[in-house]
């Protein structure tokens, strides 16, 4: 498409400026979750002056911040996958169970001493993709509601993991695999590196190609997307497979961390944390725009909150309660009606409320 010859350069520039991305709007989406995270960290600093202190021992950094990052890793991986599923208007309840299955597959393969590490990892990841493809097929080709379709694997998946483990907690002694969960590189724990790598690669895959846009288009309006030539079924299949892949990676990290596979408890209820993180990051469950960065910030908010509770000296039992209240607040802030009510009570909020 050639642009028609402009009358004057200034006019042309003025126009291009008009048509350039609205930077104000895009940054506003990041404002609230980031502000919440910074606020939480600031509270931590007030409670404990040494909160931001990092120490360096045995080639590895230690400190509360590193701890938060390390603990967030599995949920952050799940949240990256969940962001895409939610962007298409779906939901994946099975990721916790998929973590357990991937962990059990790897653990049992590791018992075979002569198998190379790469093969074990590949098998784990393939399991996750296969589980995701099952979910995706049910959702996009059999047109089963996402909640129900993934509920199947959520219920049956844990049974399958127990079957693989024959009801035992399967432990293994493989330092190379365990390194995935507890090792470190350039001072940072390896799970953190895995999250960074996954985040970076996903961002490249989604934003340097049209894939991310297609996912958003399908999530906003699947019919219209099909009408303009996007294969909406394939897109949905992809996001569930992607979520399965992320879940398998998270499952391997947690198995490597404890050097064993516990089919009952691996990844238990983590799907809910992942969904929550994506919602806190500002995504609508009905689908549409997504931001991996915001989802990861959502995860960090949840994890910092738990840390704050511990640092503040409150008993850990308040953890869930405070989490629930925060979630309710975030939910209400997402409701148009609540914002309108709020802005009529607090006229000054009107500007902020629109953000």
């Amino acid at each position: 498409m050639k642009q028609t010859q402009p009358c004057a350069d200034t006019l042309q520039q003025a126009r291009l400026a008009r048509y350039s991305p609205g930077s104000t709007k895009a940054s506003a989406r990041y404002l609230w979750p980031l502000a919440a995270l910074i606020l939480l960290l600031a509270v931590n600093l007030l409670l404990d002056a040494s909160f931001f202190q990092l120490s360096f021992q045995d080639g590895r950094l230690y400190g509360s911040l590193i701890d938060i990052l390390n603990r967030s890793a599995p949920v952050a991986l799940l949240a990256i996958g969940m962001s895409l599923v939610i962007a298409t208007g779906g939901i994946d309840l099975s990721v916790g169970a998929v973590m357990a299955i991937a962990g059990s597959i790897c653990a049992n393969l590791l018992l075979q001493a002569d198998l190379p590490l790469a093969l074990v990892i590949a098998a784990g990841l393939a399991t996750g993709i296969a589980a995701g493809l099952i979910n995706g097929t049910l959702v996009s080709y059999l047109k089963i509601q996402p909640i129900v379709a993934t509920l199947l694997l959520m219920v049956a998946g844990r049974g399958v993991a127990q079957l693989i483990n024959q009801g035992q907690i399967v432990t293994f002694l493989r330092p190379d695999f365990a390194w995935l969960g507890s090792g470190s590189w350039l001072g940072l724990p390896l799970p953190v590196w895995l999250v960074i790598a996954m985040f970076g690669l996903s961002q490249l895959l989604l934003r340097r190609t049209a894939l991310g846009l297609f996912i958003e288009a399908v999530g906003c309006n699947a019919t219209a997307s099909r009408y303009l030539g996007i294969n909406d079924k394939a897109i949905k299949l992809f996001v569930y497979a992607f979520a399965g892949f992320c879940a398998a990676l998270a499952g391997m990290i947690s198995a490597a961390d404890i050097q064993g596979s516990d089919a009952n408890n691996a990844g238990l209820w983590l799907e809910l944390d992942a969904i929550l993180a994506v919602v806190i990051g500002g995504a609508a469950l009905s689908g549409g725009r997504f931001s991996l960065l915001l989802s990861v910030i959502g995860v960090l908010i949840i994890q910092s909150l738990s840390t704050t509770i511990i640092v503040s000296g409150l008993p850990a039992k308040f953890n869930l309660l405070i989490k629930a209240l925060v979630v309710l607040l975030v939910l209400l802030l997402q409701s148009d009606k609540f914002r309108r009510q709020l802005s009529s009570v607090l006229p000054k909020w009107r500007k902020g409320g629109q953000a």
Binding site: L16, S20, G22, A224, Y227, L228, R289
Partner: protein, 500 residues
């Protein structure tokens, strides 16, 4: 019957939507015991008037009197309680409940607080027998045809002792025997003193059943007439207005005179349940109009050619080759594009920006891997915003915030960007404000002149006549006739639609 009394009166009612005056100073008088036909073309304001009357929309100004008292209905439920029931074209009942439950929802006969199912079923059976409907009332509503569902909806309105019954195009999906069944019921109700508002496209039916006619055009009342005093030709003139002549004179200029080679050939295509044996040809550079009422098959032809519905018979040839279409992507690959009638649900991708809405079809054709650089996207958007004069401050505004006309321009831009051989426009001007309306008609005309083949449906016949070289008339999912040259006038089309 004594002298008819005024039941419902609307005085100087106005309704404004942002940018559109849907109703301007409309009066309507409804007498007890009469069938009052409310006529007008699509966009004349009939449905807005109905919605204002029944509390589904709030009026901007004007007064409504019910039984002589000024009143205001806050919701359809409030209007219903007062005695105004509406039966919409798309039946608004609950397909999952039984027929009896649908009839009595909220009014079930009870004893000791418990619903008496047996008694409810008996009453339902009796009620429906008055409508000469003998069906199993315990079966879910979904099992019955639209015609029966419509009668049930009317029966519900009557059971709630309606004084005013509004029927919004109830005959659109009925066959002739069902229509007679409905008319019997309407006559029966008229004798009982119910005032009936009847909206339809079928002029024949207007003369068969109605006592009084109010005609709307462009949101204003043209006049109120007694049916017996109004010849058909005058009625059509009242509905279509004088502009018709001016527009029809232009058409000779745009019609493609030469015999061009055919681009799209439909050979007796059928789609199960929605189309049977339709054949038509679109030549290269020709604009073909599809006329017909809602449900006549015009949208279904568009869907079949675009691969949304899969054929159950017949063949589509495009550019000399036979097409097998499984999904829209196949049609796009062949060079066919569609601007759908349901712009909001099938056309725009609301939260995405204008830029993204314009570039998506091009991107979908390039595939997901070869992403169109953002700079090129911006240029593309800027180019079409200028060319089609899309009114927006910037290209990154979500498309859902634009007016209907500008949304339609964006969708046109989306297809122009991939330059299809055949562009299907399904009701391209529906729900578009007057100003943008003219612009879009001009735009379509210029596409014609540039040699793009078009297949256009529109219920605004003068519009079709204005830019089509040939009009195919559909009725009851079948092709009735094909009009071109001097025969192609709004009157002729209207006749063909009404009489077959």
């Amino acid at each position: 019957m004594t002298t008819p009394s005024l039941v419902l009166e609307l005085k100087q009612v106005c309704k404004h939507f942002p940018g559109v005056k849907a109703l301007q100073n409309v009066d309507l008088r409804l007498f007890a015991g009469e069938v009052h036909a409310l006529l007008g073309e699509n966009g004349a304001g009939k449905s807005t008037l109905i919605k204002v009357m029944t509390g589904a929309l709030a009026k901007s100004s004007g007064d409504i009197y019910f039984n002589g008292q000024q009143c205001h209905f806050a919701s359809p439920a409030a209007a219903q309680r007062a005695g105004i029931s509406t039966v919409y074209q798309e039946v608004n009942l609950l397909p999952n409940l039984s027929v009896a439950q649908n009839l009595f929802l909220g009014h079930e006969p009870r004893r000791f607080g418990l619903i008496q199912h047996k008694k409810m079923q008996q009453q339902a059976q009796q009620l429906l027998l008055r409508f000469k409907l003998n069906i199993d009332v315990t079966a879910p509503l979904a099992q019955y045809s639209v015609a029966v569902q419509q009668l049930i909806a009317i029966a519900r309105g009557v059971a709630m002792s309606a004084k005013v019954l509004v029927l919004d195009e109830p005959t659109a999906s009925l066959d002739s025997s069902e229509v007679q069944m409905l008319f019997d019921v309407m006559r029966q109700l008229r004798e009982q003193g119910v005032a009936i508002v009847f909206i339809t496209h079928f002029l024949e039916q207007v003369y068969q059943i109605s006592d009084r006619i109010t005609v709307l055009r462009n949101g204003s009342k043209v006049g109120e007439y007694l049916t017996a005093d109004l010849p058909r030709s005058q009625l059509i003139e009242a509905m279509l207005g004088k502009e018709l002549q001016q527009l029809t004179q232009q058409q000779a200029a745009t019609a493609v005179a030469k015999q061009a080679e055919p681009l799209l050939v439909l050979q007796q295509i059928s789609v199960k349940g929605s189309l049977s044996d339709i054949s038509l040809t679109v030549a290269k550079g020709q604009a073909v109009g599809l006329a017909g009422l809602l449900g006549s098959g015009r949208t279904e032809v568009c869907r079949a050619v675009y691969g949304v519905d899969v054929l159950s018979g017949g063949e589509i040839q495009f550019g000399g080759k036979t097409l097998t279409l499984q999904q829209p992507a196949d049609a796009i690959k062949a060079g066919i594009a569609l601007c759908p009638e349901e712009r909001k649900t099938e056309g725009i991708i609301g939260p995405l920006s204008i830029r993204e809405n314009i570039m998506l079809a091009l991107q979908a054709r390039r595939g997901w891997w070869r992403y169109l650089p953002v700079k090129q996207q911006q240029q593309l958007a800027a180019f079409y915003i200028d060319k089609l004069q899309i009114a927006t401050p910037d290209a990154d505004k979500p498309i859902e915030q634009l007016s209907g006309g500008n949304q339609q321009k964006v969708i046109l831009a989306r297809w122009l960007a991939i330059n299809p051989q055949l562009l299907i426009l399904d009701e391209p001007t529906r729900g578009i404000d007057i100003g943008a309306h003219a612009e879009i008609v001009l735009l379509i005309k210029s596409l014609c002149q540039q040699g793009m083949s078009l297949l256009v449906t529109s219920s605004e016949l003068e519009e079709l006549v204005a830019f089509a070289g040939k009009v195919v008339v559909l009725r009851d999912r079948q092709k009735v006739t094909e009009l071109s040259g001097d025969n192609m006038t709004a009157q002729h089309i209207m006749q063909a639609i009404a009489e077959g």
